[in-house]
């Protein structure tokens, strides 16, 4: 196999952000996320690439997530998390399963993010549970949330029930998900979407974590704002 070098010498390392919904310390949800992130890093090194990882432990953000849900206030930790995710090249999102669903803390964190913060970013979805009966939570519950956020979820879901921790197959699934997300980062897909097609998604002023500040002065509404008619101009949207 030829090793493909994606970036020139001295290029910025890939920025991988781990979001863990684990609540204990140590947490199996966090451990699963770390194993995936480690594997991505190892695979990248084999290909002469570097990965820098930041971790968002949602447990530390619990009260700020609650505040954000019921008010419009983003606390300093939420602000930092949003800033990290906004410039992430890829995300590992790992949730504990509660009552046949990703934990409320995990889901709520993603509920309060701007809809366009994660567009086209590669995401590895992972979950832990006490029983393998929860195995489809990743595909049935988490994948739809991340589809709504228009992320690029990798094909392999990583699920670990108690009995999986010592299995060789879990390690293989982790490796598969890791190479998938690495290849997506290498492709530069998310960045190309941002430079070539970003405007074709729905945005609000100040969305994407406060970075979406472009104002289209030629829109129908802007025409109306400046004394024009509310009738659509028929101008094709970009």
């Amino acid at each position: 196999m030829t090793v493909q070098q994606r970036r020139p010498e001295g290029a910025q390392p890939f920025h991988l952000v781990v979001v863990s919904g684990g609540t204990s310390d140590p947490s199996s949800t966090r451990m699963l996320a770390d194993r995936i992130a480690d594997r991505v890093r190892t695979l990248a090194e084999e290909r002469d690439e570097k990965v820098a990882t930041d971790v968002i432990d949602l447990r530390e953000l619990a009260t700020e997530i609650g505040t954000a849900l019921v008010s419009q206030l983003m606390g300093p930790k939420m602000t930092r998390a949003i800033e990290l995710l906004g410039r992430a090249d890829a995300v590992v999102a790992s949730a504990p399963v509660y009552k046949a669903a990703p934990s409320g803390l995990f889901s709520s964190f993603f509920h309060v993010l701007d809809n366009d913060l994660l567009i086209a970013k590669p995401v590895v979805l992972a979950a832990t549970a006490g029983t393998s009966r929860h195995a489809l939570v990743v595909d049935h519950e988490m994948r739809s949330l991340f589809a709504y956020l228009r992320t690029m979820t990798v094909p392999t879901s990583v699920f670990a029930a108690t009995e999986d921790w010592n299995s060789k197959e879990l390690g293989e699934r982790i490796s598969r998900a890791a190479i998938e997300v690495l290849l997506l980062m290498e492709s530069g897909f998310a960045e190309k979407i941002r430079t070539e097609s970003w405007k074709s998604y729905q945005h609000e002023y100040g969305s994407a974590g406060g970075t979406e500040l472009d104002i289209d002065l030629s829109s129908d509404l802007m025409r109306l704002a400046t004394g024009g008619s509310a009738k659509p101009s028929g101008k094709p949207r970009p």
């Binding site: 609650g66 505040t67 019921v70 008010s71 419009q72 206030l73 983003m74 606390g75 300093p76 609000e204 002023y205 100040g206 406060g210 500040l213 104002i215 002065l217 829109s219 509404l221 802007m222 109306l224 704002a225 400046t226 004394g227 008619s229 509310a230 009738k231």
Partner: protein, 393 residues
Amino acid sequence: MQFGIFSVSDITRDPVSGETPSEAERIDGILKIAVKAEEVGLDVFAIGEHHNPPFFSSSPTTLLSHIAALTERLIVTTATTLITTNDPVRIAEEYAMLQHLSKGRMDLMLGRGNTAPVYPWFGQDIRQGLPLALEHYNLLHRLWREDVVDWEGEFRTPLQGFTSTPRPLDDVPPFVWHGSIRTPEIAEQAAFYGNGYFANHIFWPTSHSKRLVDFYRQRFEHYGHGTRKQAIVGLGGHAYIAKRSQDAVSEFRPYFNEAPVYGHGPSLEEFTQGTPLSVGSPQEVIDKTLTFHDAFGDYQRQMFLIDHAGMPLKMVLNQLDLLGEEVVPVLRKELAARRDPESADAPTHASLVKAKYGDGPARQPRPNANRGDNVTGASPYQDSDAAAEYPEI
């Protein structure tokens, strides 16, 4: 620089006493608050508009004209007038009447309203809220500037040969502020017409409000109304003052904790840190308010929210004493010292009359006699520029 207070007109249970005021008590209370605002030297009183409980202010012009009659200097205004669910023709008529009755001591702020069920009660749809607001203002703008209006739009029945009466006082339209927290189109409309732009500046950090204020300033200049510094900016703010900082926090906390808008959410400390809210001694409130000037530069109007969340009347009146006697005089002095001579003064009726007529006499429209065709007349006033044309009877 004008200082004032704005009320959303909520009738909320006092979480300390457990009492909920009656509508009658709260309406009486707001009159005392407005009169007191003038007594302590504030310039502006604003009331919101709502059409559902627990709010009382469904008819702002009725309330404001009464307040104008009870006061001598106070400017009465709104925060906000619903430009979406109100017919702009009725806004033109009612606020022109208020302008006459208050002898020009009024202006108004336009907002969209974010309570979805209210829209259908008035035959509208919140999904069309923004185009409604924009189109309605376009019409309102003309109704106050043209004696006879022909108009057709998407949202309102067309008008042919319509005259909004009474014509504005001295034929100078009331000054309009466009209120918005995150809608560039509203800032653009304010800039296009050379009107004021108001940032509510309560729930979000100053940096958030600054983006659109900067955009508005830039567009104000683009449309040739003056330089960026001459654009007309108003800011909200939210304060609770006590002589001693720790008393302010302990007195205000129960009201904050159960406030309808953010109660049971962030802590008082988090909210004070993350938003323009200041809770503390007069000096602390002064210091925080001066940071607004650091961020926005010279601006024309600062409004404070001081009467919400079930705070009893006595407490609000005490807030007004502290605001008027210990906070605002210092702010006036500090901001005057910082002021760039290029910046605009806050617009008043007198300044608008002066801008339109110089030292000359203001137009005083006198209607032509009723000939039986006065609803279709092309030129209903004696001094109208075009000669009146009447159909053969």
